[in-house]
């Protein structure tokens, strides 16, 4: 339950990943030019020798092409079907056999979906929840992780242990009590339903973020910070001008988790934002799905997936690096 338990596995994985990448990056790039397997790469399951035989080469290319075709069919084709399906008329959608390309494409459906389902408002709502949760989470977790890692107050280890212990409770189990809490916050007696705070505050109590940040801060040499303290810098100043600039990579990872987490979440916004003006885009589309014509609904799905895909295209490297750091999330 203390920090090294989860840390052991994640650091080991991270280290392995880094080592692995450093070792495999170069040969991969070189091999793009030449024939497969002619590089002195650290061998994998199949040796370079086996790949270099005529038979090995034939099998390699067959497997490669089969994998590319299969992956495209399984993962890209459904998305293609979605994008083109939206542009088909209702009659064409119901046809058997289906048309691979829309006979008379109606790109106007996207505009209709945008207007009829008020997608602009729901996307803005979702953006508001995601950005707010992200900022609040950083504002709460970064100082906390810094204090637990570098200032080490009395009972600091106990506090950290209690925070990490929450990772062991499955999140869906807490839906009911958390809902009741948000509905009537103890001490404050505020009702947060249908306000962004219902998303932001629970998101800020993120033990995993604190864990990732603390583990990173632990690796910053103490001498660096002590030198600054001797020069008279306050703790806040040390955090702001020394720790934060060094910690950009881990802050990027935590930020991506925060934004993607809120963006992908469905159950929690379904429960705490029942007002149809405050819904997230996922909840709104699913609640309107029954009374919407098929092609408009599909167009709405396309529009709702564009931000996620765009974020992925932009931050692909960070997201994939974060996956190995955070893939072992509890």
């Amino acid at each position: 339950m203390t920090e090294p338990t989860i840390g052991a596995a994640t650091t080991a994985a991270g280290r392995r990943h880094r080592r692995g990448r450093a070792a495999s990056e170069r040969p991969r790039r070189r091999s793009r030019r030449g024939a497969p397997g002619e590089t002195p790469a650290p061998r994998t399951l199949i040796s370079a020798r086996a790949l270099n035989t005529p038979r090995g080469r034939v099998i390699y290319w067959i497997v490669l092409i089969a994998v590319i075709v299969l992956f495209t069919a399984v993962f890209v084709f459904p998305l293609y079907w979605m994008v083109t399906g939206a542009m088909k008329s209702s009659g064409e959608l119901a046809r058997t056999p289906p048309t691979l390309f829309p006979r008379h494409p109606h790109p106007g459906v996207y505009r209709d979906a945008w207007r009829r389902l008020y997608l602009g408002r729901f996307l803005l709502n979702t953006l508001e929840y995601a950005v707010g949760a992200w900022l609040l989470q950083l504002a709460v977790c970064v100082p906390a992780a810094y204090a637990l890692s570098k200032l080490r107050p009395v009972l600091g280890r106990a506090v950290l242990g209690m925070m990490l212990a929450t990772l062991m409770i499955p999140s869906t189990v807490l839906l009911v009590p958390l809902y009741l809490t948000v509905r009537d916050v103890p001490l404050l007696h505020a009702n947060l339903l249908n306000t962004p705070f219902a998303i932001w505050f629970p998101a800020a109590a993120n033990a995993f973020g604190i864990f990732l940040l603390k583990r990173f801060f632990d690796s910053i040499p103490g001498e660096l910070l002590e030198a600054a303290a001797i020069d008279g810098a306050s703790s806040w100043r040390i955090l702001w001008s020394i720790v934060l600039p060094i910690s950009r990579p881990i802050i990027a990872v935590v930020s991506i988790f925060a934004v993607v987490g809120v963006w992908k979440d469905f159950v929690w916004p379904l429960l705490v934002l029942p007002d149809s003006n405050r819904m997230t885009v996922s909840v709104a589309i699913s609640s309107l799905s029954e009374q919407t014509p098929q092609n408009i609904l599909i167009a709405a799905l396309v529009i709702a997936s564009i931000p996620a895909v765009a974020v992925f295209l932009l931050f692909q490297r960070h997201i994939m690096a974060g996956l190995t750091a955070g893939g072992l999330k509890g």
């Binding site: 495999s24 929450t166 033990a207």
Partner: protein
């Protein structure tokens, strides 16, 4: 800002110095502790209100009858009895177990096999990794609704493909025999990317000398996978198994959006039943009782997970 901080800090240090080393150390420690809790207070408030308090409350709610008008009253095990007497209770657990089993069969084995194959390929790696992870980025509700359209018995994509292959169409979500399997397919499609990439990263750590040695000993391809790849990635495989069990046992979005638990309770999951109790039948006690049962089951896996990650680190 810089100058004010520096000016403020400098005199304070000079005044504390004549006071003797011991007192200055303890005062320094107190000040440090106070400022540390200053840094911590935001997190402490958030955790206390939105994490620790709900956890305690969950444990209490299961044994209480809650309504918003009066005070909660203690009812002992009534909530548990009521929930366990529900005819959907048994099928919810069975469905959840079956879903978890099927999801592991597809969603656990498939990413590993995919990762092993991808690791052997020298071309198109970036494309393949991008493509396999693309569905993971979609909001789950979007992916699930997309598959709801594919599952449509009439013009849905899957029956159209079966038709093209001259096979009889299926009733997918409307038949008790295929409904749960349909949920597993969506879930695998939208989640397998992350497992694949994690395994792919883990495979980089397998020592190549072991493959070399195994091959010299005459081990074929499958034997090398079995005797080298799998033992070398054992820890990650085990951790992912536990995490996947914990995640799939909490399945909710798929039954909620695709089937509403039907047909004939064939796809009611434990969390879905919990949702029905708490938010449709207005029985927070019943919902919490179900949640507590699920938590006890999942805590077993969490405990094993803790053990494994601790031992593996040493």
């Amino acid at each position: 800002m810089t100058t004010t901080i520096l000016r403020k800090a400098a005199p304070r240090r000079s005044t504390s110095r004549p006071a003797g080393p011991r007192r200055s150390v303890s005062r320094h420690a107190v000040r440090r502790g106070l400022s540390a809790y200053g840094f911590l207070c935001g997190a402490l408030i958030c955790f206390a209100l939105f994490s620790w308090y709900p956890i305690v409350r969950e444990a209490l709610l299961g044994f209480q009858k809650t309504n918003f008008v009066g005070r909660s009253e203690w009812v002992g095990l009534d909530n548990f009895r009521r929930v366990a007497g529900d005819p959907a209770f048994g099928s919810a657990w069975l469905n959840t177990l079956e879903f978890t089993g099927l999801a592991l069969l597809c969603g656990y084995v498939l990413p590993f096999v995919t990762a092993v194959v991808l690791n052997e390929l020298r071309h198109a790696r970036a494309y393949l990794r991008f493509v396999v992870y693309l569905p993971v980025m979609l909001p789950p509700a979007v992916a699930v609704l997309l598959f709801k359209w594919f599952y449509d018995p009439g013009p849905g994509l899957f029956n159209q493909l079966l038709h093209v292959a001259h096979l009889p169409g299926l009733n997918w979500l409307d038949s008790t025999s295929t409904a749960l399997l349909s949920l597993v397919i969506v879930s695998t499609w939208m989640n397998m990317g992350s497992g694949t990439l994690i395994y792919l990263a883990a495979l980089q750590s397998v020592q190549s000398e072991l493959y070399e040695a195994a091959e010299l000993d005459g081990a074929g391809l499958l034997r090398r996978v079995w005797h080298v790849t799998i033992p070398q990635t054992r820890l990650i495989l085990l951790v992912m198994l536990l995490l996947q069990v914990i995640a799939t046992m909490q399945v909710f979005v798929e039954p909620y959006l695709l089937t509403g638990g039907g047909p004939q309770d064939a796809t009611v999951s434990v969390v879905y039943l919990m949702y029905l109790y708490a938010f449709r039948f207005n029985s927070y006690g019943g919902g919490s009782a179900l949640g507590l049962m699920l938590m006890v089951v999942l805590m077993v896996f969490s405990a094993v997970y803790l053990r494994v990650t601790r031992d593996g680190g040493r």
